[in-house]
Symmetry: C2
Subunit: 127 residues, 2 copies
Amino acid sequence: MPGNYKKGYRGENELVHMLAKKGFMVMRAPRSGRINLPSPDVIAVKSGKVYAVECKSRKNGFKVPAEQLEELLQWEKIGGSETYVAWKIAYKGWFFIPLKKVMENNGNVGKGFCAENGKPFDEIFGE
Amino acid sequence: MPGNYKKGYRGENELVHMLAKKGFMVMRAPRSGRINLPSPDVIAVKSGKVYAVECKSRKNGFKVPAEQLEELLQWEKIGGSETYVAWKIAYKGWFFIPLKKVMENNGNVGKGFCAENGKPFDEIFGE
């Protein structure tokens, strides 16, 4: 799905720069040269606090595969990061759903679920 | 210098897997699709502690450019990471020199300097 791929890339890129503007140090996962180790799309760090973010830019709801949830959980449990699935909804912006909530819902993320559990950017990363 | 490039890539890859074996969550900076934001080569995270590592695989000494030192310093000061310049010396392995030491030496890293200030992998990341 090259369309989704490009959209996802643009989405991540936007998020990375939003975080940098808020004074976070950020790293985006490589697209090529993957290392076969679990990794979120974006890591943001400030004052020793780590955020791991898996980004989705989709028109409709989606399911995060169980394997990917497990990998993200490692970043939370072992890495000590605060971990989110971030959904960019057109005309509404980004919503950050805590990994735990997504796991409780078996990886399913729909619009109602997102409205209930997703937090806006500023709530997590500051005004 | 495609030779150095390849060597550097292999070096980073090796380090990333050494860290993973020690139970760190790791991310390697992208080679392509760079985001024009300061970034070390490798980030390693465990229990909320962040390490930022700039990797060098060189036969001889080298100089880390002032601009790159400043970028790494941001990861330390703003991100709160422990930051190292890591040199892989053939047949001797990796040596991790604290960023501060490298800065005090104006970015110059030679073999004597490395012997004096570089720490082996296990000393930092555990036996």
